[in-house]
Subunit: 226 residues, 4 copies
DNA sequence: AGGTAACCGAGACGGTACGTCGTGTCTTTAT
DNA sequence: ATAAAGACACGACGTACCGTCTCGGTTACCT
C-alpha cells in the first residue's frame, strides 16, 4: 500500500529498537485469510484477527491502516504477484493462458479476498488506489506487453486500441466475478478470449490459435466472404 | 427488494390504522441519496439518514431491512425502471443506444448509488440477490431480447452464445465502473459495442451500423480477404 | 453532581422519549459499590461496572461523566445525605455526637468510597468540587449551625472564629482517615472534640459536657488558677 | 522507597558494568516534576516522563517501581529531608515555626507533588506506606520531640496524649490541603497552633508564646477566672 | 363520535467493534 | 551492565452505530 521509498526508509530506520516480528505479521495475515474464508468480511474484524493471531490490536494497526490493506497484502503475499502462465509459444497463446489462469485465480480462495478488497475499494478511495496499483495494473501490464509483442509479430494490427482490447479481455471476467450473475470458469475466459481475438487478430494468428468463429463455432478455416 | 407477495399482503393489512407516511419515505430516500453523494457510503449510516430525514430510526427500519435496500430503492425510484433508449431503427441500433445510455447512467449521480449497492452486494448475499433481480436482470433481459430480434432478422447467426455476447457488452462497462482504472463514457460504450459487433454481426449489419474495423478504424467496407 | 437547576430541567425534558431505566441506575451504583469494596478503585473500571451491572458501557457514561461521580452518588444515595446523630440535648452534645457518628461513618464500608472520591478529587478539579459541594459542605453546615446555636446559648463566645473550630474538629479526623498513620475511631473523635472544646467552650459548658482537661484527664472541675 | 539493604546491595553490584547514569535519574525526576506542575497527574504518565527526559521507559522502571515513587523522590530530593525552621528559642516557639513552615511547604510547588502522592497512597497501600515512612513520620517525629522537650520544660503537662496533640496540629493543615475547602496559609497554621496550645500549654508558656485566647483574641494576659 | 390499530418522534437500552492510550516486558544495537 | 529505541501483549478507555424497546402523541379507518 505504501510507496517503495517509504519501505526502504523504514528498513534503514529499523536498525534501532526491537525489530518487527515477522512471525506476528505472518500470523496476522493468516488469521485474516482464515476469517475471511470461513466467516466473511463482516466477521473479519480487527479484534477477531488480533485474537486469532495471538497478537494485540495495536500490532495490527501498527502495520496496516486499513482492514483492506491487510487483505490486499494477504492476497498478494500468497498469490505471487504475478499469476503464472505459460510464456512458451506465441504471445497470444500466452495471453490465452493468462486469461484462463486469471479466471482460475478469481475462482480460488484468494479470489474471495480480492472480492472484499474491490468492495472496500469502492467505499474507500485509498484502498481503491492501492489495489489498482498493486493488483490491477500489473495484470494489465502483463497482458499489454503480450499484446504489443503480438503487434510486433504482425498478429494484431498496430492501429488497434489496446486499452479497449484489455477491457474486453478482463471486463467480462470481473463482471461475472463481482456481479455473480453467471458462473465464471476458465472455459468462459477462453470463450471470451476467442471472441475478442476473432475481431482483433489476423486470420493467420486466429488459425494458429484455433480460434472458433463465435457464430458457427467452426474452426477459423472458415471463409468469411464465401 | 421484497417479493411481490409481501407487498400485496402489506397493502391489505395497511387498510386499518394510520397509513404509512409517504412524506417520511421520500425524505428518507432523499436523505440517503444526499448523504451518499456528499459524504460517501461510510457516512450514510442509518442514524445519519434518520436524523437528516427528520424521522426516527424505527421508521427507517420499518420499511427497509438493509441499508442497501434503501439505496436500491432510491436508485430505482428515480431511474425509471427501464433506462430509456431509442427503439426506433434496427434492434442492433437500439442495442447500441442502450449501451451508450447505460454508460451515461453509470456516470450519473445515480451511478454512485449503484456502486454502493454492488459493493454491499459483494459482502451480503441477500443484497446481491436483490440488485441482480431488480437491476442487472432487467437490463440484460432488455439487451437479450434485442439480440434475439437481431438473430431473427439474420443480423446475428443463430448459433452465437448470446450470454457471452451480453457479458462482452456489459462486462467492460462494469469493469471500468467498479475498478475505475480508466474513464467510462458513452464513447467507450460505443467503441466496445462496435468491437463486439465486429466479431458477431453479419457484414451487412455491420455496414448498416457503420461499425469500424477495430484495427483499421475504417468503416467496414473493408475487404477481409484482400 | 450537577446543579439542581439542570436536574429539574432534565426531569421536564425527560417526558419525551423512552424514560431512563431506574433499575439500570441502581444496578450500576450497586456494582460500583461492590467492586470498590471487594477489589479496590483500581479494579472499579467502567467496563467491569457495566459488566457486573448487566448494562452497556454507554448507559453508564450517559448518566455519569466521571468514575468518581458514580462513587459519589453511590455513597450519597446510601448514606442518607445527613449522617444521623442525636439532636436531643444541648447543641454541643449534638456536635459531639455528630463527630462520633462521622468517625463511625469514615470507618464504615462507605468510608472507603469517600476515600476514593477524595483521592480522585485531588486529581480532578471537577470531582473535587462535586464532593465538596455534596459532602463536605453539608457536614460543615450542620456542625456550624450547632456551633452557632452554642454561641447563642452563651456556651461559646461570639468572637470565636468558627471556621477554625470546624477545621479543628474535622481536620484530625480526615487526617487519620486519609493518611492512615493511626487508628480512627469514635473514641478519637471524642478525644479530639473534647480537646477542641476545652479551648473554646465556656467553663459551664465544659462541665455540662464532662470535658476532661487534656492534660490531667481530670473532669473539668479543675480550677485553672489554683 | 526501597529498604536500605537494597541500596547497599545495589552499590555493591554496581561495581561491574556500565554505571547508572545520574544524569538520567535527574532528568527523569525533573521531567516528572514539570509534567505534574504543568499538566497534572493525569498527564504524568511513565511514557511522557521518559519521552520528556529523553530516556527509555525501561530506565525509569529500572529505578522506580511506582509512579508515586518517582514523585516521592522528586519531592524529597528537592525539599531537604527536614523542613527548616528556627530552633532557637523555646521548643514551642520552634514548633510554631515548624507549623508555619510546613504550611508554607504545602502551598509551594512541591506541595502539589505531595498531593499526588497522598492521592496515590489512598489507592495503593505500598505507596501509602512509603510516604508515611519517608514524609509523614519524620515530620511528626520532629514535632513530637519538640513537644517532649516542652513537657520536660514543664510547658506541657506530662499526662497529655501527645499523639492527639500532633493530630490536632497537623490534621487541620492536611484537611485544608487535601479537601481544599478553604485557603491554607501560614496564618492559618499559626491560628491553629495557638488554639491547640491554648488548651494544652501552661499559662506561663502561653504568655511567652503570646497565644491569644481563641475567643477574645486578647493576648493571654487574660484572666480566666475573672 | 368514539374506538382502535398502526403509525410517528424521541431517545434510552444492550451490544459489538472501533481506534487510541498507558502499562510493563522484551529484543535489538550501542556504549 | 546499562542505555535508547521501539515492538509487543494486555486491557481500559470513550465513541459510533447497530437494531430493539418504550414512551407520549397522531392519524384515519371502522364501528
Amino acid at each position: 500500500v505504501d510507496d517503495d521509498t517509504t519501505a526502504e526508509q523504514a528498513a534503514e530506520l529499523r536498525s534501532v529498537g526491537r525489530p518487527r516480528s515477522e512471525a506476528s505479521r505472518q500470523r496476522i495475515l493468516s488469521a485474516a485469510r482464515e476469517l475471511l474464508e470461513q466467516r466473511g468480511l463482516r466477521a473479519m474484524t480487527i479484534c477477531a484477527i488480533a485474537e486469532r493471531a495471538g497478537t494485540s490490536k495495536v500490532t495490527v494497526y501498527r502495520w496496516w491502516s486499513h482492514k483492506a490493506a491487510i487483505v490486499l497484502e494477504a492476497m498478494l503475499s500468497e498469490v505471487s504477484p504475478r499469476i503464472p502462465y505459460r510464456r512458451s509459444g506465441s504471445p497470444l497463446e500466452s495471453l490465452r493462458d493468462q486469461m484462463k489462469s486469471f479466471a482460475r485465480f478469481l475462482m480460488s480462495r484468494n479470489g474471495r479476498l480480492l472480492q472484499s478488497v474491490v468492495a472496500e475499494g469502492v467505499l474507500d478511495a485509498e484502498v481503491g488506489h492501492a489495489y489498482r496499483q498493486h493488483w490491477v495494473k500489473p495484470r494489465r501490464d502483463d497482458a499489454r506487453s503480450l499484446l504489443m509483442r503480438a503487434v510486433e509479430a504482425g498478429e494484431i494490427e498496430a492501429s488497434v486500441d489496446l486499452e479497449v482490447v484489455l477491457d474486453a479481455l478482463f471486463g467480462p471476467l470481473y463482471y461475472r466475478f463481482l456481479i455473480q450473475h453467471a458462473r465464471l470458469d476458465p472455459a468462459f475466459a477462453e470463450a471470451n478470449f476467442e471472441s475478442v481475438m476473432y475481431g482483433v487478430a489476423s486470420e493467420q494468428a486466429r488459425k494458429r490459435l484455433g480460434v472458433r468463429d463465435p457464430a458457427s463455432g467452426r474452426r477459423v478455416v472458415r471463409k468469411r466472404k464465401a
